[in-house]
Amino acid sequence: MEGTLLIGLYVFVLAMFVGFELITKVPPTLHTPLMSGSNAISGISIVGALLVIGRAGDAHLMRWIGLAALILATINVVGGFLVTDRMLQMFKSKDAS
């Protein structure tokens, strides 16, 4: 078990560094779409919500908690990606005109 925690920490720290490298290259013009887009990515807890529902078995409270997490995470994912797309289309459309 402690092995998995350690590996998780490795992954976390290295991913943070990747994140820093990537995000410093995003121009200030795109900071709002960056925020809403990364927000959608943090909706990855949708995976956790699915697993909680799957593991609930007969535990009713746990299943309801999983459902609440699933709804919130789905709002975050669907809403986040769609609104980011809406914004980025506005940035793109100027090329045509």
């Binding site: 720290v13 795109l30 960056l34 990515i41 529902i53 990606f81 980025l88």
Partner: protein, 464 residues
């Protein structure tokens, strides 16, 4: 864990989705590729969800219900939200993301911590996930309330708030240590959640409304950390990687906002800026005179200039004048004037907000620039038009280190040949200090509503 019994397909799919997230964010480095990058990340998310659904023993009726409800709400919100309300939307989504991650931790606690003591590693992960998730949720809701005006936007500087927040944090940590180290107790666990929720409220409530960009960026980072800790709870690398990426993104944006105001994060979070404590600026001298200008003269100056910059502030968005600025800029461009928009990093109510509002008004992103692009060349700018901005063009930030905004990077429109400030009055900005720019010899004040003023100038330029 159930996962290890399954084939390697699921973890490999998670890896692929993490790669898609990284490639997606990489493409956000240019406006032309950004929309594609966002879609790449969305595909990564879809892949992660499909991979999870491959896991055996899932309750599909519940899952379909959850996804349908969430998808519908999220879709409607994304379609209908106004661009001026993006900070509110991001604040709400931060809160939902934090809540979802927190609930995942709660679900795991109910599963493994029901009876016996928790294993140290999953225990620590669950406590961290619960705390961060709950703080992110309630903090984001307060930030939303402040942006929306439900909760007072004023900075509340009460030492009692800080004291009780500290006390509560200590209480929550003690509870968490007890739950992991000694015995698993459901009542104590609910107390921990309650404490964390109140903590989130106390964390955001003292911060002034105009500092919300920093808070929203920080909460963005928290929502990522909450997802990462849910990943530790479930031993799922997809959550850990995505959470870390978002955590890093939020931290960088927080840092950029703080630097743009020349204040430390601690100062933003704890000093209750703009309440009076920090407003000891110079009083306006009686003998200084601000020179007013009218639409006709403004049109003359602008119409015959060769280089013009617009400096938009949040007041522009309040007056819904983005389209008016663009109309005027287009007209000037037709006359052969070179027009750019100079956007200060803290303009608007979240990082990059003003750029989105200008993009919505069809301003080409090539015309958007940053203070460091314009400042070195300011002497060659014929006219700088400041619309709805104040503190970000205050020369005191450069000239008076003692001023509350001393050292804050500004757009130095005072060095332009002519500066026109469109503003209702000579009143102070958010920092609560007088702006000497208004009284300079090369500055003109156009008193009035931004939208109305720009429309009148546009009409006059047409007459030239």
């Amino acid at each position: 864990m159930e996962m290890s019994g399954f084939s390697a397909i699921i973890p490999l799919a998670y890896l692929a989705s993490a790669v898609l997230f990284i490639l997606g964010i990489k493409r956000l480095s240019h406006p032309d590729t950004a929309a594609g990058g966002n879609r790449l990340a969305a595909i990564g998310m879809l892949l992660a969800v499909i991979a999870t659904l491959l896991e055996s023993g899932l309750e599909y009726t519940w899952i379909i219900a959850g996804v349908a409800i969430g998808g519908l709400i999220g879709g409607i919100m994304a379609r209908t939200v106004k661009m001026t309300a993006m900070p509110e939307m991001v604040a709400v989504f931060n809160g939902f993301g934090g809540a979802a991650s927190g609930l995942v931790a709660v679900g795991e606690y109910l599963r493994v911590g029901g009876s016996e003591t928790l294993a140290i590693d999953s225990g620590v992960s669950i406590m961290a996930g619960t705390l961060i998730g709950a703080v992110t949720f309630s903090g984001s809701m307060i930030a939303f309330g402040k942006l929306q005006g439900f909760v007072t936007g004023n900075a509340i500087s009460n030492p009692l708030v800080k004291f009780s927040a500290g006390l509560l944090l200590g209480f929550a940590v003690v509870l968490a240590v007890y739950l992991v180290g000694f015995e698993s107790n459901l009542v104590f666990y609910w107390c921990l959640i309650a404490a964390a929720l109140i903590l989130g409220v106390l964390f955001v409530i003292p911060i002034g409304g105009a500092d919300m960009p920093v808070v929203v960026a920080l909460l963005n980072s928290y929502s990522g950390l909450a997802a990462a800790s849910a990943g530790f709870v479930l031993e799922n690398n997809a959550l850990i990687i995505s959470g870390a990426l978002v955590g890093a993104s939020g931290l960088i944006l927080t840092g950029i906002m703080c630097r743009a105001m020349n204040r430390s994060l601690a100062n933003v979070l704890f000093s209750a800026f703009g309440t009076g404590a920090a407003t000891a600026g110079r009083a306006a001298d009686g003998d200084r005179v601000a020179t007013p200008i009218e639409a006709e003269d403004s049109a003359m100056v602008l119409g015959y200039a060769s280089q013009v910059i617009f400096v938009p502030g949040y007041g522009l968005a309040v007056a819904q004048a983005q389209h008016r600025v663009r109309e005027l800029a287009d007209l000037l461009t037709e006359r052969g004037v070179s027009v750019r928009y100079c956007v200060h990093p803290v303009a608007g109510r979240m990082p990059g907000h003003m750029n989105v509002l200008l993009a919505e008004a069809n301003v080409p992103y090539e015309q958007l620039c940053e203070p460091e692009d314009v400042n070195p060349d300011m002497e060659n700018i014929d006219v700088a038009v400041v619309v709805g901005a104040n503190d970000v063009v205050n020369p005191l930030a450069r000239d008076d280190p003692q001023s509350p905004i001393g050292g804050m990077p500004i757009i130095e429109t005072d060095r332009a040949k002519t500066c026109i400030v469109i503003k209702r009055s000579l009143s102070v900005g958010y920092a609560g200090i007088d702006n000497p720019l208004f009284y300079l010899r090369n500055n003109r004040m156009f008193f009035g509503d931004a939208s109305d003023a720009l429309a009148r100038i546009t009409e006059e330029v047409k007459q030239l």
